[in-house]
Symmetry: D5
Subunit: 186 residues, 10 copies
């Protein structure tokens, strides 16, 4: 990331809204805090920060389902956060991935300027490639601050899903049921 440009950009925004970037309260805002936050929140655009997906042997070919993964991302149109929960599943072949890696991968992917529809797809196709899995399900439920804190000023939930591979009807049903049970975690 071009840190200096980020500093200049934030400084301009502060001036634009009539704040004094030289004040005690705001000096670190543009010198350090916002640029740092921006760097973190765009990690998903840098391949080098992608988590490695370590796998282990396991005697199972049943769907592994992980629900309730918190997700935070930035809407590329208003640079405001959207956030919610991801539920996902994959069918392991001979190996299973370390469970925390699934969470790390979602976090990494979500840290970029994007749209929810696109991000859901990117997680699903990305995991398929990483895990060499025949089947991947991803469902995301999110609230968008660009809707809630300005504009229509209304809070609703957007649900997107992406499916990779050719899951059986039984697998679809299992994912559906796990997502339903995790409903309260939204």
């Amino acid at each position: 990331m071009d840190y200096e440009k980020a500093q200049r950009g934030v400084r301009l925004l502060l001036e634009a809204v009539g704040e004094d970037p030289g004040s005690d309260a705001l000096a670190e805002t543009w010198q350090r805090r916002v640029p740092d936050a921006l760097e973190t929140l765009t990690a998903g655009q840098r391949e080098a920060e992608k988590p490695t997906m370590r796998t282990f042997d396991a005697e199972t070919t049943d769907l592994v389902v992980k629900t309730g993964i918190p997700v935070y991302s930035l809407c590329e149109h208003h640079l405001l956060p959207f956030f919610g929960t991801v539920h996902l599943a994959y069918r392991p072949t001979d190996e299973v991935v370390g469970l925390s890696k699934l969470t790390r991968y979602v976090r990494w992917q979500s840290r970029q300027l994007t749209m929810q529809e696109q991000l859901t797809n990117d997680i699903a196709s990305g995991l398929e490639a990483e895990l060499d899995a025949a089947t991947v399900f991803v469902e995301m439920n999110a609230t968008h601050l660009c809707e809630a804190m300005r504009g229509v000023e209304t809070k609703s939930t957007t649900t997107t899903r992406a499916t990779v591979g050719e899951p059986t009807e039984a697998e679809r049903e299992r994912f559906r049921a796990a997502v339903k049970r995790a409903g309260g975690q939204r």
Copy 2:
């Protein structure tokens, strides 16, 4: 809207129920407030106020589902509000619509004198035309004050649904599940 007629109408209603339209408390009621409110609440009858439905490229053809959109409308028989929640979904082709536009469209459509059955249909067929979408689902759950605050004086929930296009069974199931999960938002 014919503002002056609205003023006269409200004034007559106040007189009809024995109130004094010239009193301090009620002067603005007929001069400004009710006519203004009426103008807002009938925006859906004026094509010019229809929100524009800006779209964006996205690599997805999976159903986009939006649940928990608040809806308020006026029953054309008693001019009393009915209100509740709309859940909807559409299948994007090459583009997705800005998410807040779905909420805006529902709000615009609901601002007219109508019946719940008709409004549900109007939102579904309107969205299909706007989005050029092959499939649209709309479900509305509402309480009607014309039932609750007079007449039978009983509160129940009316549920209506409209489907446009030829959704697959899997899409029907996804919409059903999302609506079920959003149940608590009614």
Copy 3:
């Protein structure tokens, strides 16, 4: 209703349990209150009190579902109340009925000496005739005081359903889902 017979009947019951019908506290009980209540609670036996079912044009042939209608009736064996909730649905042809009429019809039908199984059937077949609807669903969940306040002294829920016409599987599913969501209203 034969008001005078009702008065004599209540008076006898008071005497039977050792109360003095002439006392200040109980005079109006047999002279006015119980006969009045009885008249109200048997309105469903008098065709003349049936609500008229006014309909309106609407562009919809989707199922209209109404859930959470409160219902109170009298068990014909113990003359004790049973009560709970009715959920119903019908498929309109070219017209929809005023929504409050559905509630009024359920209230009217339930005001007679009957059994839950019979009442559920009567509402379904009655609505079919009134609305000339091809499909009607009625589900009733009720608690019976004849079980709860005496006898087995145990509270459970009895669920009955009646279906008129030949609904599609999709319509059955929609009714099922709406009833499920309304579960908390029992």
Copy 4:
């Protein structure tokens, strides 16, 4: 109870509302079922059916609290049931009463024609006499069918309380807290 008078009374009521007391469905209604039910539901008017309050030695002078006792009674004005929950407490001196006796006593007292305000008082003063207790608290929350199934046709909750003796502030607080926790049992 004068069983024969009860039979005649019920028979008159059936005739009053236009039913045939000789029909198969209704014969037992007036011959056996309603008179039996009436006998049960007025047991509280007959001293002979009062439960005996057996006590046991116990090393405790702390308040014993019993929450969530179901209660069903008959309103003396409309002969319709009112029902809900009783919470009570007493301070034992050297002996505690068998716990089920408290429930039995509430049941017995509630089986008469009465008003909620009166019944609450009767239970409190009755228990004080039976248990020779220095302090008794009784709280009743009830719904009245004479309000809900006819008349205003509206369901609300009526709460009454009676206190006998001179409880300490700490005892009041304990009863309050136990009732609050039992709130969900209403």
Copy 5:
């Protein structure tokens, strides 16, 4: 009520928003339905429709609390409904009022053009006069459609309370606790 003026007023409003008052769908709207509704919803302005408050002897001077009374009223500034729940209590002297009368009184009072703060006060002082009660508590929680369906388009809850007389601290605590328990009924 001046029925003919009401008809003319509604007719003008329909014309003002561009509707045709002569159409099949709307003819009864201004000829019959809205004037009727208006008459009902302003009953509280007509003394003649005030319910009579019949009382009964009872051995109790403890607070009688009634929670969860539904309330619907019309905001005098926008003629839009506000609605919610009333909880109230009074200390009887030698007599208690029929419980349904409390509900009827709240319903009658709420049927006028008013503000929530004023209505709460009117119910409290009105009940004091009717019941000749030394202490009356009234609490109202309401949602205002003039806020929710237009304007700020935001739903919040407004809570008002009025107290008449000089209640003891114990009585205040009892009312508070009963209102808290009834919280879920809002």
Copy 6:
């Protein structure tokens, strides 16, 4: 607001994170959308946009409580949103303010770069000045995205309160109870 500076600032931020501001997807982001959003979200810094606080006569000096007002603001250190719920109360003297004005005032105040502790204070002292009220309570519960979506990556709730004037203990208790009941709205 200096719109052109805002455009330049956003453009720099996009470049800093390696995005192309000239792309189709992002052109409007810096040209229109983010500057517009920024203007809205800093309205609280511009006195001219403060809502007028229209009042009405009312016979009440009891606390008026408003709970469940949604609030969204921007943390001045990371320019990330924090949001949650405001509950507030004031004691009217001879006049009450229009209820929606309270919501509008909270919204206006929250639209600036600030800290939760400061914002809570600003709302309380601002309302006191606007309403000329002797007593104002403000409580805010919020989640901060600068904690949740980066940094400690942990979601907790921060609660702040400000009190202006000398409320009585009874008023404190009423506010406490209303906030408690509104707890589920957090």
Copy 7:
């Protein structure tokens, strides 16, 4: 039941655990209370105490479902209670059984030394015989004190089901849905 043997048995158990059967506290335990309880709790082993299953004419062949019947039984291996809830359904032919009889039958059957799997079967086949019903469903959810209060000292739920006859898929679905809705009653 051999009452005297029961007395001797209980006396021996008291002695075995080192209690004095002659003490004031325990005399009635073996002389009267435990033998009485045992007699009640084994009523299901005595055909003579089986409730009669009175039926009535009704125009319905739809499934009648009864959920939330409390059940208490004794595990034949540890003589400790297991308890929970029974849900059941049957398809009436020309007659329906009095609803309280279903509860009575479950109570009678459960009062014996048995296992949950066996008891579920016994209720289903017993009801089929009693009602001459073509289809009977029984589902039981129970907690076993032999697991919870000793041994593994862990509380879990055991679910058993028995189906008699050849129900249609629609009937299976209806029973499933009713049981699901009654889930909270476990």
Copy 8:
């Protein structure tokens, strides 16, 4: 425990209710299972099985509160279980007890034939002695099967409390609050 007497006792009970103690299903019931269970469930009568209360140094004199301890005991009158939850607290002086010891102590004490009032007292005074604590609070909420599965056949909750020492008002309040929060664990 006198194992052989226990065997004889159980055998007699089986014979009393008409079962064959020699059958395959029941042989182990009297030979092994019930005597074993009885031994476990009366451990609290044997001092030797009392858990040792190991303590550790800690810099705290604030109340340590433990909520949600499951408790199962046997009613000495019917030999049927009563069970529920214990909440307790103590003020440590220089040392704190291992947390699991509190649970073990409650379990040990509850394993005897007793009454809830007595057991609550025994736990409180026992802990005071064991921990040499100046203040101990114990609250027990329990359901009694002797009420629920026979007799009044009604389920309610009995709450007992015992306090040892002279707690401050602040300590009472803390225990109260912790118990309230643990309410859902009942």
Copy 9:
């Protein structure tokens, strides 16, 4: 288990993190407590500690379902606990297993160093062998402390399932429904 090696290992770990194993507070930690705990928590690796699976005759071939079994295990990669709930089912042939044995078996299996995917499989195939059952379902929902208390520091739920045999669709549906109902026990 090699107890002495375990002692040495724990001692080394204490030294590694800079603690003094000779201190009063920690002496028993390595001498007794951790080695004991380790022995318990690896019981599943020792065949000799496997519970015997005693069976009984029963007239049932319907699925027996057991939900809500608590499970605690150790992740073999970080030696940190993962825990949650197991739901399972099996179809008995001529005999049913003692219900507590299912819980014991799950507990035994889970006490080893393993992964959730593997453990789920081991329970399913182990039960099949023990019970000679044609069909076994096992579902496990767990939280992993290696994710929650370090690393991604995020709590989500992992769901795994294993199915042995060829269950019918009806059996799959029954297991699914029972698991769904037990959802709240997670």
Copy 10:
């Protein structure tokens, strides 16, 4: 931390329980993963890793309350995790601390071998020193795996609190209320 000692210690533990530390599955367990985890989980013993507590000017001296901070720690007796939630509050003087710092401080303190009673105290006195605050409240609710997954094998909640300074009664009440509202977050 002495990394090499940690490796040797883990290796010994694996050998002690009969595992092969040289196996593919376990090599990294002792070489890297457990030592790393241990280092993280004992950070609280190293002053150098204490977070800096940056403060900001703010016009507030009202209590700042932060609820729902997740906490994970290691019990110094069994080296098993205990975890739950911390709620805390402090009274700022002229400056407020960055909100995320409170969470960071709790996390840092909890990462050591300790007891819940001690940890609660350490957080309170540590924060007082760091913030130079006159008043600090800390409450911790936790579950201990050393109780739940072995030993008594029972899950309960332990609640500890520490107070530093001389808070007013109003401040105590505010903290109590905030903790109560956060109850569901436990």
